[in-house]
Amino acid sequence: MKLIDRSIEKFFWIAAVLSLSITVLIFGFMVILGFPLFKGGQFFELLSQPWLPDYGTYGIYPMIVGTLSISLIGLVFAFPLSLGCSAFISVLGPKRFGRVLKKIVQMMTGIPTVIYGFVGIFLLVPIIRELFEHGSGMCILSASILLAILISPTMILFFSDSFDQVPKPFLDAVDALGGNKAQKILYVILPYSLRGVITGLILALGRAMGDTMIALMIAGNAVAIPDSVLDSTRTLTAHIALIIAADFESLEFKTLFACGIILYLFTTFITLSVRSFDLMPWRRK
């Protein structure tokens, strides 16, 4: 038995080391292949320049702006929606209906993003185009609305899980004091599960930044820096997908590694902030 125990332990240890080293290796790979950019000192220029390959300028600043604006606006749409949904599931709504809603939300997490993109092209884009009469309808607004739908299930499930962890005596106390359901959410559940809410929010932001298909299909992929939410824009992920076909030797292709590094750093930063948030000593009562 001892032998089996130890070999299982070894197996998990190897699995952990392997997955860790793959993550590190990917980063190393991008840095090494993007090294010519670092050496020439171009890396930091790339971050602030526009993308004009015909003039020899391969900056990715417009894509960074695109990624940040689409994912942050998406988060602004998705957060109240998710908070309301999970409050309804856990507290406000009738128990049985809440359970059905939760099942539906769970199912939504499995829908491939390309489906959202497809629906968006035929339903959302024409509406946005006719409503605002500005541009093609393929814009930051359309993409972030769809992205909000994409990331909401992640947040809703995360929120309602942390809502469910509020100890029952707390909730009973509210009832005993004659508080209504809204007060229960506002003064007991939300403060208690604040940590879960923020963690869910940050995870959803990571998912929004990493998404490729919705941005590629809906955001229009223009390389100009957007002036308004109705302008077409290109995200880092969509940019990689579009330029990957360029010649290996070209400078265009090499700048993709800069995109990769930036995306990687964004998501690493997000993950680290989740972790540090978990490790923080304070605890709300």
Binding site: P50, W51, L52, P53, D54, P62, V114, I121, F122, V125, P126, R129, E133, H134, G135, S136, G137, M138, T212, M213, L216, G220, N221, A222, V223, A224, D231, S232, R234, I240, A241, L242, I243, I244, A245, A246, D247, F248, E252
Partner: protein, 275 residues
């Protein structure tokens, strides 16, 4: 994340039936078996699909997989041995030919036409107007006789052979506005234009149907007939490229494309056969 696979053009037919009764040029594939992988130019896809369907119906032991990706992808993937045939809607550059030892087969000629939404009143442009529209100087349909709406320019990414030809021959290598929307294939261009009433873009003439309206350029409408007669100048060859001399199934497939039946498919799909 491979672009080709994202583009949803993977197409596999596995047919057990063997309908050898009316074979004709398909006799080439008698007794062959194996898998043939094709990727690249999206203009080629209708012809590739039809040829693949006939071949796989004739001989169920052959499997042909067709992916899109654009001309740049086709050349790159065939050069690296990822696919057997890499299609391109432009002639590979000398650099690409030398680097990958490409062998080119030009099997049809195709025009690249400017298209707008069928509801658009503007059906003719001069070359100067076209250049100004794509560079962003003209940005409202009103100034060229249409409705008072901003013009939405659609373009393709750098890997596109259609873009390369259009940029060189229609725009005289002029600038394309940074505000232009990017789409990833001829098919995606067609669906974008057909759903956006204020759009302008360009597609392979083989793709033009009633869902988009062709725009006459300098008085010449981009039709198959006008391309054939040489009246419409924005045309290019459709190439299938192999790494080195093709052999086996790859050679048979290319022979089929050049056979009367293959060339007939090309002309049915809206291209001008070379033979």
């Amino acid at each position: 994340m491979k672009r080709a696979s994202c583009l949803a053009w993977i197409f596999v037919f596995m047919m057990a039936g063997n309908l050898s009764a009316f074979a004709g040029n398909l006799d080439l594939f008698e007794g062959m078996k194996g898998t043939l992988r094709i990727a690249g130019g999206t203009a080629h896809i209708p012809v590739m699909k039809e040829a693949a369907k006939r071949i796989m119906t004739f001989n169920g032991d052959i499997q042909i997989i067709i992916a899109g990706g654009g001309s740049g992808v086709g050349i790159k993937q065939v050069g690296e041995g990822l696919v057997d045939i890499g299609n391109s809607g432009r002639k590979p550059t000398d650099k690409e030919i030398n680097k990958y030892q490409l062998k080119m087969f030009k099997w049809a000629i195709d025009g690249v036409g400017v298209v707008v939404n069928p509801g658009n009143k503007v059906k003719a442009l001069s070359k100067a107007q076209l250049i100004d529209i794509f560079s962003g100087k003209i940005n409202n349909w009103k100034s060229i006789g249409g409705v008072d709406k901003p013009i939405n320019v659609y373009t393709r990414d750098k890997a596109s052979g259609t873009r390369a030809v259009f940029w060189k021959k229609a725009l005289d290598k002029g600038e394309i506005t940074a505000k232009a929307n990017f789409v990833v294939s001829n098919g995606a261009m067609k669906s974008a234009i057909s759903s956006d009433p204020y759009a302008i873009g360009y597609v392979s003439v083989g793709y033009i149907d009633e869902s988009v309206a062709p725009v006459a350029l300098g008085g010449v409408v981009p039709t198959l007939e006008n391309v054939k007669q040489g009246k419409y100048q924005i045309a290019r060859g459709l190439y299938s490229n192999t790494k080195g001399e093709p052999s086996g199934l790859t050679k048979k497939f290319i022979d089929f494309i050049f056979s009367p039946e293959g060339q007939k498919i090309a002309s049915e799909k809206g291209f001008i056969p070379v033979q």
